[in-house]
């Protein structure tokens, strides 16, 4: 396999990746290195993990990070209910407590959370660690052990080795700086908003029924809109929603009915202030630019 073939495969599965992103992903898969993707929200960082899983016909295991995420939610937890029942049953048989302890702290009573689940797969899974910058710094430390050795240490049992090495993709929005140690272990790619040509290709992939002229207007408008001062710039998903909305309403030309075009902007502008920042006049100017 070459990186170019991967890019074509991704494209056939519906994901148009830039050369750099395809290369980074290819190296990540080939060299078995985690890939760190940074960039604004809505540029398809999460989507590429899903697409990769689809492409490799493997399981996608997703860990959504948040502040306060800890080992019992990310790696493993004991199944306390089962343990309790088992202890009761065993003590009625008057087994020695050492034996009971060994029994209830065995793998049978372990609840797998995403990270443990990922290394216990027979076929290499795609492990998506989403928005790693939201988790606390302590959590990065857990992650470092797993990403470098692909093993997990559980005090009661010992070290659990990986059955297969998952393809790890981490995403970050830049909520906080990540530690250098984590960065150094990962390949890196900054995913930016796509350029006009790439975005046209994405739109053509996702909405093949759209007329060329309207597609060009849509992409041109969204590209121009991203240059405006907005709180939340529209991502690719928003662009696709908008295209679907326009197609659904039977609009063929953005300049035809400014009122209606304005109403459809709810798909692109997601905050009150952004709505106010793009009144009809601005919208018309952007449509003019897009043409």
């Amino acid at each position: 396999m070459s990186w170019h073939k991967l890019q074509v495969d991704l494209s056939n599965t519906g994901y148009v990746a830039s050369d750099d992103l395809a290369m980074a992903l290819f190296l990540g898969v080939t060299l078995g290195k985690p890939l760190l993707l940074e960039g604004p929200a809505g540029v398809g960082k999460t989507q590429i993990a899903k697409t990769l899983a689809e492409l490799q016909d493997t399981k996608l295991i997703r860990l959504q990070c948040y502040e306060g995420l800890d080992a019992s939610h990310a790696i493993y937890e004991w199944n306390y209910q089962r343990q309790l029942l088992s202890i009761r049953a065993a003590s009625e048989e008057h087994k020695p407590s050492d034996e009971i302890e060994d029994h209830v702290f065995s793998e049978k009573f372990l609840l797998q959370r995403p990270l443990l689940e990922a290394i216990r797969q027979d076929k290499p899974a795609v492990l998506l660690i989403d928005e790693i910058d939201r988790a606390d710094e302590e959590f990065e430390a857990y992650l470092l052990e797993i990403l470098s050795d692909f093993q997990i240490t559980i005090p009661e049992i010992g070290t659990i080795e990986a059955r297969s090495r998952p393809h790890v993709i981490l995403t970050a929005n830049g909520a906080r700086d990540l530690s250098d140690a984590l960065r150094r272990r990962c390949l890196y790619n900054y995913v930016d908003y796509p350029d006009r040509r790439t975005e046209m290709a994405i739109l053509a992939k996702r909405c093949p029924a759209l007329e060329d002229r309207l597609a060009e207007q849509i992409v041109g408008f969204v590209q121009a809109l991203r240059k405006e001062e907005l709180e939340k710039k529209p991502g690719i998903a928003e662009m696709l929603d908008w295209a679907a909305a326009l197609a659904g309403l039977g609009i063929n030309d953005l300049a035809d009915d400014p009122e209606q075009t304005q109403a459809t902007l709810v798909c692109l502008l997601k905050t009150e202030r952004d709505r106010a920042a793009v009144p009809k006049e601005v919208q018309q100017r952007l449509v003019g630019k897009a043409a």
């Binding site: 070459s2 990186w3 050369d19 750099d20 290369m23 980074a24 290819f26 190296l27 990540g28 080939t30 060299l31 290195k33 890939l35 940074e38 502040e67 306060g68 800890d70 004991w78 306390y80 343990q83 309790l84 202890i87 009761r88 065993a90 003590s91 009625e92 407590s97 009971i100 302890e101 209830v104 606390d136 710094e137 302590e138 830049g174 909520a175 906080r176 700086d177 250098d180 960065r183 150094r184 390949l187 890196y188 790619n189 900054y190």
Partner: protein, 394 residues
């Protein structure tokens, strides 16, 4: 940019690659042995005769963040395409302009050996840096300082000073205990520690007789206070210094800085137990006291020099300034954005905000606003006290 000559008689690809890694390191991209190994493996996986592929692959391996990724192409060309010498002059100015707009902390790295070329205020910055690092507060007199030496002692009565200190100490105490969201074992807490309970219950045939709990432990907050003592702030400087001193003495994790045309770390001087002696030490330190302001440049320097050690996700940065800046507002904007990315919360106390009809129209202030978590007045002691409930909510 530091230029490494392409080794004309270099041996195999490994040696050339090692040279490239050294070239990256010299230009501030921390590529180590691990990266070299990965890079070699990566080159094996792509077509090494196609420069586009090699560039793209090496970029994915060597760059660690968006800033490094942006600079990578230039460094790549300089080494592999032997453009280093030819482009030396233009490359250096280009990168310094580039990084000035985009990042405070990488600026020095980018300029490399040519060292801060073309920046008017760097000589001052360099000196201030030395003074800060030495920790004794020795400061080389600034060129732009006003001639008269501002006497701190005549500005306030001792009673007001004491009140300010008491208020500040209360604030410091209240914000030390921002709560963490993670739990750990504790004698009393809001959640049961099931793991421990079960372990202990094994000995009693599964009866959970003893209950163990876990709680969200208190995590200290680091306060970093940065005080503007330029000419326009002189009337407030004395109270604010006392306020800073109160913050500092309550908690050793607190850090204080003062700036006018340069930035000085004053934590050690403020920890002096004798208020008057501390004030004297300070007036000796800050010879440029009461001069012009370079807020943006100073925040940028703070990012470059101190932020890495003193700022993390539990930091609260308190900036006391009126927002009148002689630098272009983009510098403030960039410096605060950078600070924010480190996870710090930023509070800006502006004495002018207490004035009737005040609007943050000063360009520097307007540029700073989007980055602030809290923007408050600070022209009375009551205003300073009003900070406490806000910090308590964190």
């Amino acid at each position: 940019m530091q230029v490494t000559r392409f080794p004309e008689r270099a041996g195999g690809p490994a040696e050339r690659l090692a040279g490239f890694m050294a070239h990256l390191r010299m230009n501030g991209i921390p590529a180590g042995l691990g990266e070299t190994e990965t890079a070699l493996a990566a080159l094996g996986a792509v077509d090494a005769n196609r420069i586009g592929e090699v560039r793209s692959a090496l970029r994915a391996v060597c760059a660690g963040d968006a800033e490094q990724e942006r600079r990578f192409d230039e460094l790549f060309d300089a080494y592999w395409l032997n453009r280093g010498r030819k482009r030396d002059g233009t490359a250096a100015t280009h990168s310094s302009r580039n990084t000035k707009a985009q990042s405070g902390s990488n600026y020095r790295l980018a300029s490399g050996a040519t060292d801060d070329d073309g920046d008017a205020d760097t000589p001052d910055d360099g000196n201030a840096g030395e003074a800060g690092r030495s920790g004794t507060g020795r400061l080389v007199a600034s060129k732009i300082s006003t001639i008269e030496k501002t006497d701190l002692r005549k500005l306030m009565t001792p009673e007001d000073l004491e009140l300010a200190e008491r208020v500040a100490e209360k604030i410091a105490r209240s914000i030390r205990d921002r709560r963490s969201r993670r739990r750990k074992a504790a004698l009393s807490g809001d959640a049961l520690d099931m793991r421990k309970i079960l372990r202990k219950s094994v000995q009693r045939g599964g009866e959970p007789i003893e209950l163990f709990r876990k709680a969200r432990p208190d995590r200290p907050v680091n306060i970093v206070a940065i005080l503007d003592v330029s000419g326009s702030m002189t009337v407030y400087a004395r109270v604010f210094l006392a306020f800073l001193k109160g913050l500092i003495s309550a908690d050793r994790r607190t850090d204080a800085y003062l700036f006018h045309t340069q930035l000085v770390r004053i934590s050690d001087a403020l920890r002096d137990t004798d208020t008057m002696r501390a004030v004297n030490r300070l007036s000796i330190m800050a010879k440029g006291f009461g001069g012009g302001t370079k807020i943006g440049a100073n925040l940028k320097q703070f990012n470059a020099q101190y932020a890495a050690q003193s700022i993390n996700g539990r930091s609260v940065v308190i900036i006391l300034s009126d927002g009148y800046d002689t630098d272009p507002p983009e510098i403030i904007d960039e410096a605060l954005a950078r600070l924010k990315r480190r996870g710090a919360r930023i509070v800006w106390l502006n004495p002018l905000k207490g004035w009737e009809g005040y609007a943050p129209v000063a360009r520097g202030m307007a540029a700073a606003l989007p980055h602030l978590d809290h923007f408050a007045a600070a022209n009375t002691l009551a205003d300073l006290a009003a900070l406490e409930p806000w910090l308590n909510r964190l």
